[in-house]
């Protein structure tokens, strides 16, 4: 028996299948670069597209579908959105908004002051269900004298309110009588933003169409498709193959993405920082602020930026370095071995036989953890542990599963955290650093950090509307933080997006957590 026909037949079938598939397989997305759809791949997929259920950073689809009363410009300043203008009373407790005229929702229904009232009332009432409800805790009442006027009355001044109202407005007619967490609305939302969601396939993609009724006129890009590709490598491959026109790329992939023909890289700073949170409640050794200062001097932030971030970042020495509220003056911490020695000796420590700082036979030993699933945080953890160990701190690196961490926040000794916002600083500094927000009180001050000067500055900054006074108060806050550091600061991340050469419009801005906010002015984007 030599060659049974079946063998050949089977092989031929298999190869024919392969060949036919190959023939119609790849091929660059030429059509889309000729003025049609912009297809963009991103790793993170939101659980819901309801803006009230997302924290202050909004994913691209939600950002494109929704619009708030206010919005942010290229400098992250609050500017009018759906509200044309507003008035704030002298005591900072009464806000009067005037809506633009002729606003409509994506389904064609008119957008009126009733929707504004509904949004604020619903989010406030949702309490723990909606992370942003904390922004509306001080709202006493919302009144709607006419269809385009909204009066918001506060029980006490709350300066971040205008910033908070950049949250997308929710349509009363779509959500009335339903819970704000309604899953159907989260999957097929109705907004008033520049793009209308036409298809949402969880785990695959979201398809958006220019909304003709948008208040600034229809966007120039007819269609945007956001494709969810969690794997970093797969995003790069799809970009190379032309399966997508643009993509969010990690630092490791950024150089390769830049080499792809017809594609340019847009790299922007973000306000998203990484730092080592220290648990004061768990480890008494952290009580001595000289040890914490010393650790901050032991970190070589430039080496971090160069190695872990491949240049896509900048050193962090405080929570507001990328904010308009950044305190004037030089960075409080540099990489300085002599300073470490000086501080540790002042604290009564001496180097033991293994080159570790010890006092009374005890080293500064602690476990440094982070979410094991987050590879970039694990990288930071390992480099930080190596650097601290080299300077005599007895650090044990041990990433832990997310589930374990969630159950055991109080048990963590030190943890790689990420915080930061490019918008109003209150949302991202009050929670982690105010003593009233300690973990035991259900707040997000996980390390139970407490400093009266910090508390005072944060409280005052919340109640002051005057930008100059606020800036001074946040300056005091940063000074107090540098003197008594709650974290070991590491670095801010930059974010890179590959876009086709033919796409005009993306504009540099300091972006938020996860690099979200890249589409902030997408209504002005166009094909050249």
């Amino acid at each position: 028996m030599r060659k049974p026909a079946l063998v050949i037949g089977a092989l031929a079938t298999a190869s024919a299948l392969l060949a036919s598939a190959t023939a119609c397989g790849a091929g660059r997305a030429a059509d889309s670069r000729d003025g049609g759809t912009f297809t963009y791949a991103i790793g993170d997929e939101p659980e819901t597209l309801n803006p009230a259920l997302q924290d202050e950073h909004t994913d691209p689809v939600t950002e494109l579908v929704f619009r708030g009363l206010t919005r942010h410009d290229a400098a992250n300043k609050v500017v009018p959105g759906l509200a044309e203008s507003w008035d704030v009373s002298k005591d900072g407790k009464d806000y009067t908004f005037t809506l633009r005229s002729g606003l409509t929702w994506h389904d064609g229904k008119p957008l009126t002051s009733r929707d504004v009232k509904f949004t604020i009332d619903a989010v406030k009432a949702a309490a723990a269900d909606a992370p942003r409800s904390r922004n509306f805790e001080s709202v006493e009442s919302v009144e709607t004298p006419d269809a385009t006027t909204v009066k918001v009355e506060l029980s006490e001044p709350f300066a971040p309110l205008l910033d908070a109202l950049s949250m997308g407005l929710l349509p009363e007619h779509a959500l009335k009588g339903k819970k704000i967490t309604d899953a159907a609305f989260g999957q097929s939302p109705v907004g008033a933003g520049p793009f209308r969601l036409t298809t949402f396939k969880p785990g695959q993609y979201a398809e958006l169409e220019a909304f003709g009724g948008y208040y600034e006129g229809a966007p120039k890009l007819p269609k945007i498709v956001i494709k969810y590709v969690p794997d970093d490598t797969a995003r790069l491959i799809q970009l190379k193959n032309g399966e997508v026109d643009g993509a969010h790329v990690q630092p490791q992939q950024a150089a390769k993405a830049g080499d792809v023909g017809g594609v340019r890289l847009e790299t922007y700073p973000t306000a998203d920082y990484r730092a080592l949170m220290l648990n004061f409640k768990k480890l008494p050794v952290f009580a001595d602020k000289r040890i914490r200062q010393a650790m901050n001097f032991a970190i070589d932030r430039d080496a971090f930026v160069k190695s872990v971030l491949l240049g896509h970042g900048s050193p962090a020495t405080g929570p507001l370095d990328e904010s308009p509220y950044k305190a004037a003056g030089a960075a409080p911490f540099t990489h300085d071995a002599a300073k470490v020695d000086e501080l540790m000796k002042a604290a009564g420590y001496a180097e033991n036989g293994q080159g570790l700082w010890a006092k009374g036979g005890k080293t500064v030993r602690f476990e440094l953890s982070t979410f094991a699933e987050d590879s970039s945080r694990v990288a930071i953890l390992n480099v930080a542990a190596t650097q601290l160990k080299a300077r005599g701190f007895d650090v044990v690196p041990n990433p832990r599963p997310r589930d374990w961490v969630r159950k055991n926040w109080g048990e963590l000794e030190a943890f790689v955290v990420g915080w930061g916002t490019p918008y109003d600083p209150d949302t991202s500094v009050y929670g982690p650093f105010h003593s009233s927000e300690a973990l035991a009180n259900g707040g997000s001050n996980y390390g139970t950090y407490s400093n009266p000067d910090v508390d005072k500055a944060l409280d005052a900054a919340r109640r002051t509307s005057d930008p100059e006074k606020r800036k001074a108060l946040y300056g005091d806050f940063q000074k107090a933080l540098a003197e008594d550091p709650p974290f070991v600061w590491i670095s801010y991340l930059h974010t890179s997006n590959a876009v086709p050469d033919g796409l005009k419009g993306p504009q540099r801005r300091t972006l938020g957590h996860h690099g979200y906010g890249f589409f902030w002015n997408a209504e002005k984007w166009s094909w050249s």
Binding site: D231, D232, T233, L236, I237, Q250, Q252, Q253, A255, K256, D300, A303, F304, K306, S307, V308, A372, E373, S375, V378, A379, L381, N382, V383, A385, T386, K389, P397, N398, P399, R400, P401, D403, W404
Partner: protein, 306 residues
């Protein structure tokens, strides 16, 4: 995972009963895991090479601290992403400047420990349960066989996934997950061998001579049943290493900071296209080479016990 053959394969191989599956009475014993999937007519040089390779890996794992002066988790921001052949780093470094040779050596410790311990537990549990089924009361036999049947008709990865999701990543989880989902073939083989041996004249003679049940079991039955069990045990090591790497790859295996071949692969996967092919190639080669070598040896053992 290597595939366990049904008794079909066994009857097919031996040719007894005219190659007809389950047409006869009783339950023919299922064949050991992977018998057909990976069996290769063993040749002396191949067997020697496989044995040498495994011995080398084991020795390297054991002597890791002697063979490299690097700490496998210490980063070096001045020596990131070095290609293989760089001075001081024969296999290069990863993106955090960690020495790849050190990571592979220490990774061998984890991967081989998982493989050997998991296989040992699997075999011990299998022999114990199989022995109990063969020697114990009828209801116990029935219960053990039924549970094995049910477990065998489930795709193992699904069960392992559920286990790993529940227990969280740890060495113990991986070992337990492997053992919990792989003992059945061992148990069934042991049971079948014991039952068939029980009827042999020399065993009957031993009974007739008045030896106690336990003594017959230890002196006459177990030694006879050991060879087929030994060949499964060898395959189990390869199976365990494969499962470890798959679980780690899915983010549900060995804790991420502990070097293991599976973890190295998971971390390196993203760099496959960014030029650092070697961070993928070396650990992958280690996994594949180990499994192949184990399977060569297992084939030899099962070949000789036939």
């Amino acid at each position: 995972m290597p595939i366990t053959e049904t008794r079909l394969a066994r009857t097919g191989r031996t040719g007894s009963g005219g190659g007809v599956p389950f047409s006869g009475e009783g339950t023919p014993p299922p064949a050991p895991r992977g018998l057909l999937a990976v069996r290769l007519p063993a040749r002396r040089p191949g067997v020697w090479a496989a044995a040498l390779l495994l011995a080398a890996f084991a020795l390297a794992a054991l002597l890791a601290p002697v063979l490299t002066r690097y700490d496998p988790i210490a980063t070096d921001t001045l020596a990131t992403s070095l290609p293989p052949g760089s001075p001081g780093h024969p296999l290069g470094t990863d993106q955090l400047g960690r020495d790849l040779l050190a990571r592979i050596l220490y990774g061998a410790r984890t991967s081989l420990i998982v493989g050997i311990v998991a296989a040992a537990i699997t075999v011990a549990a299998g022999v114990l349960l199989g022995g109990l089924a063969a020697a114990g009361p009828r209801w116990l036999d029935e219960a053990i066989s039924r549970v094995a049947d049910v477990l065998l008709s489930l795709p193992m990865l699904v069960v392992v996934l559920a286990l790993a999701a529940v227990a969280g990543p740890s060495l113990g989880t991986v070992i337990l997950a492997v053992a919990a989902t792989a003992w059945m073939p061992v148990a069934l083989v042991t049971r079948a061998e014991l039952i068939s041996l029980r009827e042999r004249p020399y065993v009957r003679a031993a009974h007739a001579l008045g030896l106690s049940r336990g003594r017959v079991l230890v002196r006459h039955l177990l030694p006879g049943a050991l060879p087929p069990v030994a060949s499964i045990a060898a395959f189990e090591v390869g199976h365990a290493i494969l499962t470890e790497s798959t679980l780690s790859f899915l983010g549900l295996g060995v804790p991420p900071n502990r070097p293991s071949w599976g973890n190295l692969l998971t971390e390196a996967q993203a760099h496959l296209l960014t030029g650092e092919w070697y961070t993928v190639a070396f650990p992958a080669a280690c996994v594949v080479a180990t499994i192949l070598a184990v399977n060569v040896l297992a084939s030899t053992i099962s070949g000789e016990t036939r």
